[in-house]
Symmetry: C2
Subunit: 134 residues, 2 copies
Amino acid sequence: MLNIVRSVAISYLGKVMKPVSHPDIDDIAAADVFAALADPIRLGILVALADVPEVDKARCNSFTEFASPSLLSYHFAKLREAGITRFRVEGTSRYLSIRREDLDRRFPGLLDSVLETARRDPNLPRLSGPLTVC
Amino acid sequence: MLNIVRSVAISYLGKVMKPVSHPDIDDIAAADVFAALADPIRLGILVALADVPEVDKARCNSFTEFASPSLLSYHFAKLREAGITRFRVEGTSRYLSIRREDLDRRFPGLLDSVLETARRDPNLPRLSGPLTVC
DNA sequence: ACGTAAGTTCAATGATCATTGAATTTCCGG
DNA sequence: CCGGAAATTCAATGATCATTGAACTTACGT
């Protein structure tokens, strides 16, 4: 019942804006960023994301080859809470992207060398095909 | 008894070379490096090490303000096992240094941006004075 | 040979982590 | 309104982690 009311209210606004909280990049400690990067699956996600030309267009669904939906959700949250990725909710889909500008300002040069480093690692999971954007 | 024999044998060689094993840098996965960096104490050690002009001259003892000897030993091992630092044993002292050349070859640009990132972090522990070299 | 300083090792602790599967929420299309 | 698709949440698991303090090793100086 309450759900119906809320659903109507949100629909009335025309756009669904689920409150997915993103931390202020200045509140992130260096150690927390490295902790978020200390996992092969998350590094694989990051590399795949970096290779998407269009920003904010990668659906979560694209990474099912890496892990189960439930586990992916866990890793997505880790990346988001470390200030590394951004989330956008649209309908039942979620789109994610790298917070490039924020990261470059707070940790200059880090993202690029991390990506370079990760790309060289043969042990990381990789998508079999190009990431379907849409 | 056996200890006496071994002690004599090593002393006879003139130099003490305790077998502190260092991993081949090519065996290190990217995620393992980031895991080693995901701790404020270890980042503090790394930054302090980077500021020492002479290589291989920083005594373990220098970091007692960061943690207890026992805990320091634990963190030193983490850094060493991730291929980030090098150890040299001389008498009862241990000297440590950053494996700069190795890291720069295997993970180009990473160390510098990590140091830059870590230096900006106000939450990291810092040595009260300059690191006594000798 | 003795005492001490420098570090390590070990066992124990509580905390956090990665993973799984089942249940749940949320939304879209018919 | 109903069924399915997308993704999250929750509880439970075993593993690893950071921290502590006590015991131990090793070497130096006297």
